[in-house]
Symmetry: C2
Subunit: 221 residues, 2 copies
Amino acid sequence: MFKNVLIAEDHEIVSKSLRSALTDLGITIADKDYVFYCDDAFTRVQKALRDGDPYELIITDLSFDEDYPKQKIAGGRELIKALKEIQPDLKVLVFSIENRALIANTLFKELNIDAYVPKARHDAKDLKLALESIYKNKKYHSPNLRQKEEYLHDFTPYDKTIVSLILDGKTQKEMSGILKQKNMEPSGLSSIEKRINYIKTALNISNNGQLIAYCIANKVI
Amino acid sequence: MFKNVLIAEDHEIVSKSLRSALTDLGITIADKDYVFYCDDAFTRVQKALRDGDPYELIITDLSFDEDYPKQKIAGGRELIKALKEIQPDLKVLVFSIENRALIANTLFKELNIDAYVPKARHDAKDLKLALESIYKNKKYHSPNLRQKEEYLHDFTPYDKTIVSLILDGKTQKEMSGILKQKNMEPSGLSSIEKRINYIKTALNISNNGQLIAYCIANKVI
DNA sequence: TGCATCCTTACGGGAAACCGTAGGTTGGTT
DNA sequence: AACCAACCTACGGTTTCCCGTAAGGATGCA
């Protein structure tokens, strides 16, 4: 089983419980092996790497509460991205309250994580299975993820930009100018109109309010 | 210190940790004293009451994941309300990921809870303080609540109806008709226009998308 | 009763969004 | 070179939204 594991989790209660769960599995978690801030996690990994005793696995949450002094790395996503740059072979297990399959899949795809376990009713058992899987170099998708939701529309980066601009309170005409500035194509007012209309049709909704609600609910932005 | 405490928390990891934290404080948590479903919590309290050995305190989460078979009591709010009806003197400590002061205050006001502790960096210590406070019959507001946010605008039931209608994709003209049907005043198209505009000005935003985003972020609807 | 104030509503002009059409560009095929 | 398909964009008409003005109604007070 793993020897060097780091836990990045800002909720004390959860962190504590994770430690005892890992101890039960025969993994020793020293005081230096759990942190409450992303920045600390990064530092620890960096140091372990330099000391020639790198971590094999990090277990991390996705959302971290803000705190002062302001942290450089704000959340789990950014942390994983940063870690993969300095230690590409570091395994990553994400342990988060978020239980939408889509979110998890994105992480597997974009950040190449190794396991995703949602905090849920039987997460202790789930966690155990995940650890065993990734120890054998196998990815682990928790069965507790809410699979059903299917995307009616795949938001492209272009779409996301448009939605963000709506959120900024821009008019379509203003968007056209902004997209031209950014050299994003297409930037014609007409194209923007049509794209928004296309998305709404795909999602079967009729106004911007619903569009925003949908995007927020599905963490599109 | 408390003798009879019930824990309602659907995340196994958190539940486990809560138990050990309470044990550390000298509170015994038997297997019958923690549950993963609201319905079970209600049953336990009911039974304990009937057996003449009622609980003194319940520690409960707010949001519970859905599960099958479908539960009658869906969340912490409903649970607390139901419990207060059968045992008004039962003390309630809410332990939730939600850290907005406004949400907590509403619970103190409307459901007369005794303590609110957000899951956060130092929640173990926070929990301890809370338990000590309510044991002395004192309400406990966690200092970790995000206090700053002040409402720029208080959404009246009328406002909420309008926002809901926007979310339903209705036009303002349709809203006028619907409000007339519901006998809600004012129902004139002009009044609706002005109200929406007033809210937007108050929130310093310029389109419906932002309005919806604000309402979702602040759980107005 | 008369007057002031507040609220609701109707109306109208202008801006933005919606929607179809048609012209233009690009890139690939024959 | 001719053709075609896919895409972007400009344009115009309609609807919806935005916003100011003003008329009508209710209330309170002198």
